[in-house]
């Protein structure tokens, strides 16, 4: 077997080319050339130097273009792959590169693609920071390219930032431009680069604002901007916060009232001027996803001329099946409280803030689940349309959901209950506890307290509806 020759392995095209030319001139088959040698053995097994420099044999131009890039691959096999292809091109296979499936060609293509990608990402990921020096502004970046590609990019950056003075530093090499021409320097540590720039706050502001929280696709991001590069990209400090916040922002987006002058549903329901046709329109509502699982929307019930409108949370299991509000246990509780407060059936109209039953299935049972802000927001136009048609003197919010739908999120039931306030849909609005609260109370004493609260607040509503003295009314 022929002797193995060790060939010096250096980074860059011309270093490789010079050695490859000598190997070729000496007729060394690729299997006899070992690229990179154990320390100290160069002299012993070096490539024989021809007496006159051998000319580079003619090879396709495409090979030269590819080789100039592949010579900047970090992996040592770049040199042997290049030499194998060079050997075959000059030994009877001049059209080798057209054999796209040949193992050597595939390997060459793979290495080339990796270098090209690294060069492209380096063009993209350089982040200059401005330094004010005595002789003016200097822009400095520090970057860690996957492959030592900076020498390939001098021309690109010089053309692009031709009216600046700049330096791009990396552990492998550095590029410098003085306003006229670029030059290559040695590798530099991160500590040689500035640590901040006043523009970065603004850049991060832009990065946060241009992100669309409604379509999170982290994998698409990290495949193009791998995490190993994040430490030199200032904007990536914003990513964890953006992701943590995205679900909440989408919810908030949907929960925002539709337009400044009122709900846009107003336009949809305004042609229907009576309650009956409103209820009919409601029956086909698909304003939110609750309709998919619920039986049918539950409209309000009661006199269209009622002076008091009572707004609950949402229909329960029984209500959903009956199609009528307040027919379950909480409805019985409410009926007793109304009677105790001296209110008759034709004085009240009963409805809910959310018209579809929101539940979580549990075996054969459907467990009540609190409607979300999006449901309240989606359903609000129906509630407002009811109030607009009835024009009650008093609207009573039973519990937090109703209060939130009509009076905003600041209302606290136990703190604010029983105190009349003005609202846009009735001269008086009252907040009180939901009748179901008494049913869920932890002990009989607490239940009695809540019942008493409900009854006294309803008595208050009755007084207001029948024309209570003006001085009793505090407006907020």
């Amino acid at each position: 077997m022929a002797e193995i020759v060790f060939a010096p392995l250096q980074m860059g095209f011309s270093a490789w080319r010079d050695v490859a030319r000598d190997c070729l001139a000496a007729g060394l088959e690729p299997s006899r050339v070992e690229w990179g040698a154990p320390q100290g053995l160069f002299s012993a097994f070096g490539v024989p130097k021809p007496e006159a420099p051998a000319p580079m044999p003619t090879v396709p131009r495409r090979f030269m273009q590819v080789a100039r890039r592949v010579a900047h691959h970090r992996d040592d096999r770049r040199a042997s792959t290049l030499y194998r292809v060079l050997w075959r091109l000059t030994h009877g296979e001049p059209r080798l590169l057209e054999s796209a499936a040949d193992p050597d060609v595939v390997e060459l293509r793979t290495l080339d693609a990796q270098v090209r990608r690294s060069a492209h990402k380096t063009k993209a990921f350089v982040r200059f920071r401005k330094v004010e020096a005595e002789d003016g502004e200097h822009f400095v970046a520090w970057i860690q390219p996957d492959h030592p590609v900076l020498p390939l990019l001098g021309e690109f950056f010089a053309e692009r930032f031709s009216d600046m003075r700049w330096s791009i530093l990396s552990p492998d090499a550095s590029l410098h431009y003085d306003g006229k021409s670029w030059s290559l320097g040695p590798g530099r540590p991160r500590s040689a680069a500035p640590t901040h720039d006043e523009l970065e706050a603004l850049w991060k502001t832009y990065y946060r604002a241009i992100f669309n929280p409604a379509r999170v696709m982290v994998k698409a991001m990290t495949s193009e901007m791998p995490k190993r590069h994040w430490h030199t990209l200032p904007e990536t400090s914003e990513i964890p916060g953006l992701l943590a916040d995205s679900a909440r922002r989408v919810d908030a987006m949907l929960a925002m009232p539709s337009a400044p002058e009122g709900p846009t549903a107003h336009a949809l329901v305004s042609e229907l001027d009576d309650l009956a046709s409103l209820h009919e329109a409601l029956s086909s509502c698909r304003g939110c996803e609750l309709h998919e699982a619920a039986t049918a929307p539950v409209p309000g019930r009661g006199s269209p001329h009622a002076p008091i409108v009572l707004v609950g949370e949402q229909p329960g299991d029984l209500e959903d099946r009956a199609g009528r509000p307040f027919v379950g246990p909480a409805g019985r509780e409410l009926a007793q409280a109304l009677e105790a407060a001296g209110l008759s059936h034709d004085e009240v109209y009963l409805t809910n803030a959310v018209k579809h039953f929101s539940y979580a299935p549990s075996g054969k049972r459907r467990l009540h689940s609190k409607p979300r802000a999006t449901h309240i927001r989606a359903c609000r136009p129906w509630l407002l349309a009811e109030l607009e048609r009835i024009r009650p003197r008093v609207v009573v919010c039973l519990g937090a959901t109703a209060a939130r739908a009509l009076l905003g999120v600041e209302v606290r039931v136990m703190r604010d209950r029983g105190t009349p306030r003005a609202c846009a849909w009735a001269p008086h609005a009252l907040v009180t506890v939901h009748p179901a609260a008494a049913l869920r109370a932890k002990d009989a004493g607490r239940a009695a307290e809540l019942r008493a609260a409900l009854r006294s607040d309803l008595a208050r509503a009755r007084a207001l509806a029948r024309g209570a003295p003006e001085k009793e009314v505090e407006s907020s």
């Binding site: 057209e98 054999s99 796209a100 499936a101 492209h120 063009k123 993209a124 982040r127 200059f128 401005k130 822009f139 970046a141 053309e159 692009r160 031709s162 009216d163 600046m164 720039d197 006043e198 523009l199 706050a201 603004l202 850049w203 502001t205 832009y206 990065y207 946060r208 604002a209 241009i210 669309n212 409604a214 379509r215 999170v216 696709m217 982290v218 994998k219 698409a220 991001m221 193009e224 990209l233 904007e235 990513i239 953006l242 989408v250 987006m253 949907l254 925002m256 009232p257 539709s258 337009a259 400044p260 846009t264 549903a265 698909r286 304003g287 996803e289 998919e292 699982a293 989606a378 136009p381």
Partner: protein
């Protein structure tokens, strides 16, 4: 004026937020070598960063103002929307663009705008930003101006003098969609602007070929447009018909499809749910088939199946519906037919063509090209394949066998 001023930050926050629903961020297709000033554009655009929505940041994409006198239902900036408003001064935008560019954050500027007083007034201010960048700052980076629908044709053409790309949004697939959701816009008007821009581009190109003293280039990266998908009942067939008409009539470089996604302060004229992103993806694939693979709209979305199959890509869907055209022999089939084989892209086809001048195409060589064999093999014959791939071709369950593995566990809906 300091760029770090809190007011600039507020404006940037508001006016970038308002621009984020624009799909395009491309900075490709233009070559502008570095002159005396800052900046260059290559043929290929550069994505400088990516946000967690997977989209690229190539350009500083902002509105000049989000004040708008129009009331388009799908738009967050419509006049009846309760959003925070802001307006950039042209000087502020010029400064911001230059400062970002100098730090290598961006390839250039993508400027769009709400309609402030009138379409012409707005476009004039946008052109002023581009003019300042080019003439005063000698800026050589990329500029994309979104011409305002309804602006005069002369102004739309003038935008092309400073911009690499000019675009006018077609907005929705059909004119009836526009009437419903964008009452102030008409497709005739939008396409009027497109055709004015096209003739300015054409004229500039042909006179630059003839004249010795070269007149200025107009929009060297051509024009593009954007269509919102899923905000109206328009089918994929309608969408693709509109797209192919625009490609043909106005020689657009790109049509961008943007799946409708819920916006704050949504109008009730809109669906409450986002359109599936996979539909957007399938439309891009179909669009590619029209432009690079020799398909036409009636093949991809015949009137009998006007919606694209969301589970499989449109080329595979076509091949399954036209099995009589397969299998094709890789050593002999013409390029046009190779392009129709599911799983073979333009580049693979190119490599097969160059390879088969040297030797026969084998399964082994396809594997070396990293061609997806599972998908390709039912539709091809190679000289070394003995397993009779056409048997697979006749199987009823071929579609199911070729479904992407990740989609198999997806059955039906998650609830309801």
């Amino acid at each position: 004026m300091s760029v770090a001023a809190p007011d600039i930050r507020r404006k940037l926050r508001v006016l970038a937020d308002a621009a984020k629903f624009d799909a395009s961020c491309a900075s490709s297709g233009s070559k502008r070598s570095g002159g005396k000033g800052l900046g260059s554009t290559q043929g290929m655009g550069i994505c400088h960063s990516y946000t967690p929505d997977g989209r690229c940041i190539s350009l500083l994409k902002v509105l000049l103002t989000n004040v708008c006198v129009y009331d388009c239902a799908y738009c967050i900036n419509r006049r009846s929307s309760d959003v925070e408003r802001a307006t950039f001064e042209p000087e502020e935008l010029v400064r911001l663009t230059m400062d970002f560019y100098r730090r290598n954050y961006i390839e250039g500027l993508f400027l769009s705008s709400g309609i402030r007083k009138s379409a012409d007034d707005t476009l004039l201010r946008m052109i002023e930003v581009a003019r300042l960048l080019r003439e005063r700052e000698s800026f050589g980076g990329y500029i994309h101006l979104k011409a305002v629908a309804g602006a005069s044709e002369a102004l739309a053409q003038r935008a092309g003098l400073y911009a690499d790309r000019v675009s006018v949004n077609i907005e929705l697939p059909k004119d009836t969609d526009l009437q419903r959701l964008a009452p102030e816009k008409r497709s005739s008007q939008i396409e009027g602007s497109m055709s004015a821009i096209r003739s300015a581009i054409d004229e500039s190109r042909s006179s630059r070929r003839r004249a010795r003293a070269k007149p200025p280039r107009v929009a060297p990266a051509g024009q593009s447009t954007q269509m919102i998908i899923g905000a109206t009942p328009a089918q994929d067939r309608d969408v693709l018909h509109t797209a192919s008409r625009l490609y043909a009539h106005h020689r657009l470089r790109r049509v961008y499809y943007s799946a409708f996604s819920p916006i704050p302060h949504a109008s009730l004229a809109l669906p409450t749910k986002p359109a599936p992103l996979v539909r957007e993806h399938r439309l891009y694939q179909a669009d590619w088939l029209l432009r690079f693979y020799g398909f036409d709209v009636d093949e991809v979305t015949p009137s009998s199946a006007p919606a694209l199959d969301l589970d499989i890509d449109p080329k595979l869907a076509w091949a399954l519906a036209h099995r009589e055209r397969f299998p094709v022999h890789l050593d002999t089939a013409p390029r046009e037919m190779l392009l129709r084989v599911p799983g073979l892209g333009v580049r693979s086809v190119q490599r097969i063509l160059s390879m088969r001048r040297q030797h026969k195409v084998t399964l082994e060589s396809l594997r070396a090209l990293r061609v997806p064999l599972r998908k390709v093999s039912p539709f091809i014959v190679t000289s070394d394949a003995h397993h009779g791939a056409s048997q697979l071709l006749d199987r009823q369950d071929l579609r199911r066998r070729l479904l992407p593995a990740t989609q198999l566990p997806l059955f039906g809906q998650t609830h309801g």
